[in-house]
């Protein structure tokens, strides 16, 4: 060391002066410190400091009882510990990797993790299964897992527990609806039983069942993506990973079922990244959310009784001359102004230190200001802050008292504390307090990714939100800034029957909170499900574009207990199928050599497909059915003949597929997509489509086409 003394490089570190802190930062820090100090003082008065001797005295050793006898007795516990450390992992290794493993455990293991739509046969068996594997790996304890399981599970649930998970891969099992119904009944009670924190892996609620569509490869995403999500390339943002919808053969798999999705967060997120010069990760691109970002001019519904009517069209696919696109669009009923229901809104606002950025809290304040401007005399607003200056900021207040609401909003400060996180329970309590019968009771969570709202365990949080949803209070999530945990945001909004939107700019706030406020506030139909049955005589193959995270089981369609997406007033929702007509030469799957023809003879002639939609009135638990046949009458021969909306939707789908590096349809060049979007621009009142066109151009620079464009 001494040789370094002459020339110590660290000497240069001496005497460096950090610049003086800025006075406003200093003042803010002081204020925050004082606030924390005062908060600490308040709590301290109620709780005596616990130092030293409490009720049970001070623990000086865990094995104090032995201590007095002989100090060398220490060897026994230490030796035991050492042996245990060696034996337990070794035993576990033997237990799990050799032929000593009982056959049934290996089969059950995936069930635990797989998050299949099955009833909660309580967390106890799960814990029981875990305990023997970790603590007592000795073979003698093996049978204990099944036996402990038996008494705990309710008798009828036992077979169900094992079946749906394995059946999940076989979509159309006849027994499945029964199992499903049983499980759905079981679910709510069980959710209540499940203690938070015990069962993080597999609390399944109806939402999870809804998204755990067995027929699609996408099912692992389900709801609790926060738990088992693979975080993808984007370093700061978390997305549930999902596989693309695969091609289906109409002869063997003629029915496609999914839940409507009105979220638009994916487009806003992708736009922000692209404008910042990055290509979003494939899992961040959800094509249906991109398509649904844009308003389309579908035929409106006439009355609240039938809140929407589907618009159907078939037209040539822009990226494949031999296939066609089947577009299904709906527009939610817009109730006349005098019929709008009162709204009871609770803003649950993240005020953690990270919100202190121009695109976060200040934007949020202006955005909520916009929303408050929309409200009428019957509406109430309350504000709760969490993670920071936590607590009730504004008790339920009539929306007519705008000044009071806006000043309360304006006073929100991002104090960097993380204390006091009663947030979400407080928000729901206020929502309960100001509940309006027959109106919209909604908590709007605004955050930049800090979901530390008071319930740490994601499953417990979902259970809580779900229970509240059943009591009629829904939850929407608005994301701000970067670093948002997208999968959590999605999961919460889906569980809470609300929508998740990503607010990247004031303009976006205007779109979500002003132009489409009806969709946010006034639900006109809930649990909207779509089922399309293709006629194998006309259609040989089909593929749903997007909706990977929304796929339902075929049997879920008629099961009113399965949760699905809600549609707000005036919302437009679009779904696209790429369909391959029989004999077009574009089939990717070879026909069966033996007996593929049986199904076709009963079909009524030339119908392409049959569309069924189920929805519930906002205040009903019984679903209504809308049916519509897709006949050759809606087929357009040339894409130039279809409406602007359709061309534009096709362009957005192509854009999404290209951005995702889709296996299908990624063959259009950026120029072709741009030209198609331009041709479908139409009146473009909000300017959203013009923005999309420029976004395509930016994307083409970020991810240039390779030398061989399509077709």
């Amino acid at each position: 060391m001494s040789d370094d003394f002459n020339d110590n490089p660290f000497d240069q570190l001496k005497g460096a002066n950090a610049p003086d802190p800025r006075t406003d930062a200093r003042k803010r820090a002081m204020l925050a410190g004082m606030a924390a100090f005062e908060a600490a003082q308040k709590t301290e008065k109620t709780t005596a400091p616990t130092k030293g001797y409490g009720a049970s005295g001070r623990l000086s050793s865990i094995i104090s009882s032995l201590k007095g006898i002989k100090i060398m007795d220490m060897r026994i516990p230490i030796g035991t510990v050492a042996i245990a450390l060696l034996i337990v992992p070794l035993g576990y290794q033997l237990y799990s990797s050799t032929s000593m493993t009982p056959a049934d455990t290996s089969e059950r293991a995936p069930i635990v993790v797989a998050d299949a739509p099955k009833p909660q046969d309580e967390p106890i068996p799960d814990a029981a299964a875990r305990v023997p594997s970790m603590v007592s790996p000795a073979p003698s304890s093996r049978p204990s897992a099944p036996t402990t399981k038996a008494p705990v599970s309710p008798a009828p649930a036992e077979p169900v527990a094992a079946e749906p998970a394995q059946d999940a891969s076989l979509a159309n099992q006849a027994s499945a609806p029964v199992a499903d119904a049983a499980q759905m009944e079981a679910a709510p009670t069980i959710d209540r039983l499940a203690p938070p924190g015990v069962d993080t892996k597999r609390t399944v609620n109806s939402g999870a069942a809804a998204f755990g569509g067995a027929s699609a490869p996408a099912r692992p995403i389900a709801l609790n993506s926060t738990v088992q999500t693979q975080t993808v390339a984007q370093p700061s943002d978390q997305f549930a990973s999902f596989a693309e919808q695969r091609l289906k053969v109409a002869a063997t798999d003629p029915v496609s079922t999914f839940s409507l999705d009105v979220d638009t967060a994916s487009y806003a997120y992708a736009r922000r990244l692209i404008e910042g010069g990055e290509v979003p990760a494939p899992d961040a691109v959800r094509i249906e959310e991109m398509i649904n970002y844009f308003p389309y001019d579908y035929a409106p519904a006439e009355s609240a009784a039938v809140p929407f009517q589907p618009t159907v069209a078939v037209y040539p696919t822009p990226w494949n001359a031999k296939t066609q696109l089947l577009q299904i669009g709906i527009k939610g009923y817009i109730p006349p102004a005098e019929e709008t229901k009162p709204a009871n809104l609770v803003f649950l606002i993240d005020t953690s230190g990270s919100m202190d950025s121009p695109d976060k809290l200040p934007l949020l304040q202006r955005a909520f200001g916009l929303l408050v401007d929309q409200l009428g005399a019957d509406d109430t607003v309350s504000i709760v802050a969490y993670a920071g200056s936590a607590g009730v900021v504004l008790e339920p207040t009539k929306a007519t008292e705008k000044a009071k609401i806006l000043s309360a909003l304006g006073e929100l400060k991002p104090y960097g504390t993380t204390a006091g996180s009663e947030g979400i329970t407080l928000a729901y309590r206020l929502a309960e307090q100001a509940r309006v019968a027959g109106g919209a009771n909604r908590v709007i969570l605004a955050t930049d990714g800090d979901f530390n709202v008071g319930i740490d365990d994601p499953k417990a949080l979902e259970t809580f939100i779900k229970a509240k949803r059943e009591s009629g209070i829904t939850l929407s999530v608005l994301g701000f800034g970067r670093g948002i945990n997208d999968s959590t945001m999605q999961a919460l909004a889906q569980t809470g029957n609300g929508n998740a939107s990503y607010i990247s700019s004031f303009r976006e706030a205007q779109k979500v909170l002003v132009d489409q406020v009806g969709g946010t506030l006034h639900t006109i139909a809930k649990d909207v499900k779509v089922q399309v049955e293709f006629n194998p005589a006309v259609i040989s193959e089909y593929r749903l574009i997007g909706y990977e995270t929304r796929v339902l089981n075929r049997e879920d369609f008629n099961n009113d207990k399965v949760d699905a997406g809600d549609v707000g007033a005036g919302t437009t929702v679009t779904a696209l199928y790429e369909i391959t007509p029989v004999g077009s030469g574009a089939e990717l799957v070879d026909p069966l050599r033996y007996g593929g023809e049986a199904a076709t003879d009963t079909k009524p002639g030339d119908e392409i497909a049959f569309l069924k939609m189920r929805y519930k009135q906002p205040d009903s638990d019984v679903s209504q059915l809308i049916e519509k046949a897709v006949t050759p009458a809606v087929v357009y021969g040339d894409i130039a003949d279809v409406t602007d909306d359709m061309r534009f939707a096709a362009a957005v789908a192509a854009f999404g597929q290209k951005l995702r590096d889709s296996d299908y349809g990624g063959t259009m060049s950026w120029e072709q997509i741009e030209a198609l979007a331009r041709s479908g621009k139409g009146a473009d009142e909000g300017g959203y489509r013009a923005e999309f066109i420029s976004l395509v151009r930016t994307a083409s620079l970020l991810k240039p086409d390779t030398a061989t464009p399509a077709n």
Partner: protein, 189 residues
């Protein structure tokens, strides 16, 4: 601040600043908000300076300083006086630095790309230049323990004993970390 060094004095000379700080701490622990305010006032510069040296940019330093103020407010009741108050403040600051850097490495490396003015665009003024040269950058890259030891001993010019107190390790271990740091940096500088 010039304590007279006299071999004959039996008791250590009383450092008036330290005594005042001690008194303020006791008052703050008894719930005196004004005393706590004064403590913050006295120590904010220390906190900010440390945070700055450790991370080398203004926004982070300010955020950390604010976090530390908050932590001081909620934790001062638990300060047991076993070490000097300033050591305790150092310790909290270093923990805050560590927390923030871990959090930001999770949050995303591209966040700075979205800052309206990236650090490179901003002409460094003299003071920034003083803490932003190659050596500083290299030291900030060191493993946490080594970095803390080097900065405490050299940049903050504390004794090894004081650094050891702050880091909660033995004096010899501080020397070890400094030595390790020197070895690590030998290739770089």
């Amino acid at each position: 601040m010039h304590a007279p060094v006299m071999g004959l004095t039996a008791a250590a000379p009383i450092d008036p600043t330290a005594a005042i700080t001690r008194a303020l701490v006791v008052r703050a622990q008894n719930g005196d908000a004004a005393a706590f305010g004064e403590l913050l006032e006295d120590h904010y510069d220390l906190i900010h300076r440390t945070a700055w040296k450790w991370c080398g940019n203004r926004t982070d330093a300010e955020d950390i300083a604010q976090d530390v103020c908050v932590k001081l407010g909620s934790a001062i009741a638990g300060f047991d006086g076993r070490s000097a108050f300033s050591s305790w403040v150092y310790r909290i600051t270093l923990n805050a630095v560590r927390d923030m850097q871990r959090a930001s490495s999770r949050r995303g490396k591209y966040a700075s790309a979205f800052a309206e003015v990236s650090p490179e665009d901003h002409p460094a003024d003299q003071e920034e230049a003083a803490t932003n040269n190659q050596l500083w950058a290299a030291v900030r890259q060191l493993p946490e323990k080594q970095r803390d030891a080097v900065l405490l001993v050299y940049a903050e010019e504390l004794s090894h004993a004081a650094a050891a107190d702050i880091m909660g390790i033995k004096e010899a271990t501080v020397s070890f970390h400094v030595h390790e740091a020197r070895k690590t940096l030998r290739g770089l500088l």
